[in-house]
């Protein structure tokens, strides 16, 4: 059990616990906070794999902008706690064992396949090589995503206008 494996298990446990907490919480703001914990744990896992730029972008964009948007909307809409409705017994007693069985099947299939060997945390992806790829091989999708963001901004502004303006 070396240091990388120990850190992986800690971060993975935190991510899974936060994802379970997202399901179990009643108030959406607590679910949002749990999702932020998942994203920070995933950023830690990206760092463990050596993808440092992706980890930083994950925290800056996902954790610092997208989730702030979620938190703002929850605060503005004053979302209350979920109402208590009846839980379907079929879903509870048959669904969850089946989900666990499917997950176990997938896990078994993954571990038995011949994948490339283990991740090396010291093989850092340099930002320079990433930007070479982004601006030379993938320049067309890059420009398309900038157009997509422009369309999203226009859409959000149009949606936010009140009637009669």
């Amino acid at each position: 059990m070396n240091a990388s494996l120990a850190i992986f298990f800690v971060l993975a446990a935190v991510a899974v616990a936060a994802a379970v907490s997202l399901i179990l919480q009643r108030h959406p703001i607590h679910s949002a906070l749990s999702l932020i914990v998942v994203m920070v744990a995933l950023a830690g896992l990206y760092l463990l794999m050596g993808a440092e730029f992706v980890a930083a972008v994950q925290i800056i964009v996902y954790g610092g902008a997208v989730m702030v948007l979620f938190v703002f909307v929850i605060m503005l809409l004053n979302a209350g706690e979920e109402e208590h409705t009846s839980f379907s017994k079929l879903a509870g007693y048959a669904g969850i064992p089946m989900a666990v069985a499917v997950a176990g099947l997938i896990a078994a299939a993954i571990t038995r396949s011949t994948l490339p060997p283990a991740q090396d945390p010291t093989a850092l992806t340099s930002t320079r090589s990433l930007s070479m790829l982004l601006f030379q091989d993938f320049v067309y999708p890059f420009e398309l995503t900038s157009f997509l963001i422009l369309v999203a901004i226009l859409g959000a502004i149009v949606l936010a206008q009140r009637e009669g303006n």
Partner: protein, 410 residues
Amino acid sequence: MSEFLHQYAFLIVPIIKVAILVLVLLTVDAYLTWLERKVIAHIQARWGPHRVGPHGLMQPLADGLKFIFKEDPMPANVDKPAYFIAPFVALMLAVTSFGVIPFGPQKFTLWGYESSMGIADVSISLLVLFAITALGVYGVALAGWASNNKYSLLGGLRSSAQMISYELALTLSVVGVLLIAGSFSLREIVEQQGTANLGFLSWNLFGFGHGIGFTQIIGFSCFFIAAIAETNRVPFDLPEAESELVAGFHTEYASMKFAMFFIGEYTSMVAVSCLATILFLGGWLSPFPASWTFTYYVPSLLFIPFGLWLIYDGIHYENIFGRIVLPGIGTVLTLVGIALILFPPANHLLQGLFWFVLKVFIFMFVYIWMRGTLPRFRYDQLMSFGWKFLLPVSIANVVLTSAVILWRMH
């Protein structure tokens, strides 16, 4: 014992550095509040704290005791997890940002572990700082919402919307520096500014002597204005000003939790000043060219007269406590100055740290000076300034810098 130290040095040395940093940081924060009250008072033609110790130097201690002993009421119907987490998040993020800031150029080896003058030397330290700034919005937003108070909610939402808007201008104004330095690592950015032997003219602010750079005055102005808006200071402090919205997002916080917000705000101010000196003002580089080695004695030349003046001023102080403490501090400073002249290795070690601290102190003084001088923006003026003026100017700075770099490369 020595074997244990050598084996676990990679863990023990950073822990020692973190302990020293947190101690120094909290003391600096406390005396920053003293400095702010004194400077603003003198700007407003009054004295400020001058009773609680010589020149009011014990005032932070008194404030700390007050915060510890004050009652900590918790309003009814607050959202308990968010209410308790928000001040912790604000303080923790502000202090964590010091983990990647380099304070000096030296690398030293302790128990077989080589480390630098800074806690961690990461290759993406600038991105880590931006990530921490991005997460800092949560402290404010959660505090405003959890307080079950409509004024706090409005203040929290306004403050976090302001922080997000100016975060864009903050990150874009730094891109010019990144283009010149070619790296995200703060240490490499400072070292790149020191390659030309021109002293302060080779800092990124002026940008002479490299052949690949361009003056970053526009970027520096955008960065500094955006940083003031990020830390919610005057003139951008509408969401937390005392005469508006009661007290904004920290209305319902008292005593220790309010102290945590307070310390978090000052710590983030110091962090942003450190970042500004590293990116634009050359970090630990001396303003004199590196080949003028006689300028290594400038710190001593500043310490010795200041120490002697403190001794002289303290001897004539009104009460006995001041007559002991002030000359004591003055003697220590004079002895440090003389020791620096007599021991060149120590002098060499402290050069980088001295210039870094001096530049950060200048930024803090400008922050406090602005608080005493400027009125505050109205909220819609603030938002339109951030989106309609600062963001386009930052983008124009990026375009201009990259155009100059491309032109010079041919």
